[in-house]
Every structure is written in structure tokens, then in C-alpha cells.
């Protein structure tokens, strides 16, 4: 099946199958692809000490402490959180005979994801709001 035909097929599924599980499937794919691509970037950033020096590594990591990149980080952690919680649901369904409970589990997945999003947002709020006053950081910047 071709690329376009396959995606049209998925679209049809979503319109016909108005089930929360269909959205869980899409979100799991979407977050999975985003995380996999980020993983490559993550490995590259952590190789800066290998490619250049420890100082370069520190300098570039510090340059990431901006409101915009913190918002990006909050979104990324939320994506990882959803993928992980949904992964726990899949493991429970596959290995713990909980397929009859998968709908309830899915509600918990969404709830935990929202709670995680709010918690991380609160944790990173000082940097996002631009009120970060850590003197060590200000000096290094």
C-alpha cells in the first residue's frame, strides 16, 4: 500500500472509529517519532566534549537556558511522559491480562500526562518567566 493510501486509511479509521484508543495509537506514534529524532540530537549534544572540549560542552549547555528552549523541554518531557505512561498501559494489557481494563487505564494515562505537564511547568517556571536569579548561572552567561 502506498504512503498516501495508507495515511488516508488511517484518517478513515479515525473518522469511523471514534474510540479513545485510536487517539492513543496516533499520539503514541507521534510522540515516538519526535522522541526518536530528538534522541539523535541528544546524542550529538552529549558528544560535544568528545568533538571539541569540556568547556565547549558547558558553554553550549548553558546557552540552552532560555525561556523558549525551556518551553521546548517542557513539551518534550510531556511527550516522553505520555509515551511512557501509555507504554505502561500496553505492558499491563500484554503481560498482566488487563485488556478489559484498557479504557480505564487510558483515562489514567491522560490524567498522569496532564499532571506531569503541570508539574514540570511549575518546576521550570522561573526560567520560562525570565526570573531566574541563580548568580552562578548569571556569571557564566
Amino acid at each position: 500500500m502506498g504512503f498516501i493510501a495508507k495515511n488516508l486509511d488511517w484518517l478513515k479509521d479515525t473518522i469511523i472509529n471514534r474510540h479513545l484508543g485510536q487517539w492513543a495509537f496516533y499520539l503514541n506514534r507521534l510522540t515516538g517519532v519526535i522522541i526518536a529524532l530528538y534522541l539523535i540530537l541528544h546524542i550529538y549534544i552529549n558528544s560535544l566534549a568528545l568533538l571539541f572540549s569540556g568547556d565547549t560542552y558547558t558553554r553550549i549547555l548553558h546557552s540552552f537556558e532560555t525561556p523558549l528552549l525551556k518551553i521546548f523541554e517542557v513539551m518534550l518531557i510531556t511527550a516522553v511522559a505520555f509515551h511512557a505512561y501509555n507504554g505502561v498501559r500496553i505492558l499491563l494489557v500484554d503481560f498482566c491480562k488487563m485488556s478489559r481494563k484498557q479504557n480505564v487505564l487510558l483515562v489514567f494515562v491522560f490524567l498522569f500526562t496532564i499532571v506531569t505537564f503541570i508539574a514540570v511547568l511549575i518546576l521550570y517556571w522561573p526560567v520560562i518567566a525570565g526570573t531566574e536569579t541563580d548568580p552562578a548561572l548569571v556569571n557564566k552567561l
Binding site: 526518536a36 566534549a49 505492558l91 541563580d134 548561572l137
Partner: protein, 115 residues
């Protein structure tokens, strides 16, 4: 194990094994690298990596993440029913990326851990 004998189930099996490693591993990874409120620096990472256990932990996390990530991309690709040479080609590309990034990641860990 029974599932090991069925080739199509091998990917399913390893996605779940790596998922279990990643659920616990990434929770700990986030806790020590993102949620302590410290700004990451070479010195901070270097101090943590003085302990061999952290290097082993990071390396296991790296391999699990690479297998799970590329295994996931591969399973999406399989949804489009690729056949023959094209399928084998992209399969080897995925294996190549996992191997190269594993070695590259390990070298990066070593570069971050001198005394």
C-alpha cells in the same frame, strides 16, 4: 522463550523488554539530570561519571533507547508493507545507525568521564 522462535514477534518482544528498562531508566535519568535544579555543565556530569555504575547505567540506557527508537521507526515502516530489496536495505540502514550511535555514544561517555 516461545516468542523468540517467531521472527515477527521478536521485534514486539524486544520493544517490550527495552520499554521496561526505559520506563525506570528515564525516570532516574530525568531525576538526576533535569529535575535537580542545577544547570548542567561538564564538571557536574564529569563528577557523576566518576562512578563506574553511572557509566554502565548511561550505556544501558543508550542501547535500550536506540533499540526502542529505531525498532519503533522500523515498525512504522513495516505498516507500509515494504517488500524485497528496499525493505532489506532500510533494515540494514537501521541496524547500521544503531551500531554507529552506540559506539559514538560510548565514546562520548568516555570523553565526559576523565578524572
Amino acid at each position: 522463550m516461545e516468542v523468540q522462535r517467531e521472527k515477527g514477534l521478536r521485534l514486539w518482544f524486544w520493544q517490550r523488554i527495552t520499554a521496561i528498562i526505559l520506563i525506570f531508566g528515564i525516570a532516574l535519568h530525568f531525576a538526576v539530570t533535569h529535575f535537580l535544579g542545577e544547570v548542567l555543565s561538564f564538571d557536574l556530569v564529569n563528577e557523576r561519571l566518576q562512578h563506574l555504575l553511572w557509566i554502565v547505567f548511561d550505556f544501558i540506557l543508550l542501547i535500550a533507547a536506540l533499540i526502542h527508537g529505531f525498532g519503533g521507526l522500523w515498525s512504522i515502516y513495516l505498516d507500509y508493507n515494504p517488500q524485497g530489496t528496499v525493505r532489506r536495505f532500510w533494515g540494514w540502514v537501521a541496524v547500521f545507525f544503531v551500531l554507529i550511535l552506540t559506539v559514538y555514544g560510548m565514546l562520548s561517555l568516555i570523553a565526559l568521564s576523565p578524572k
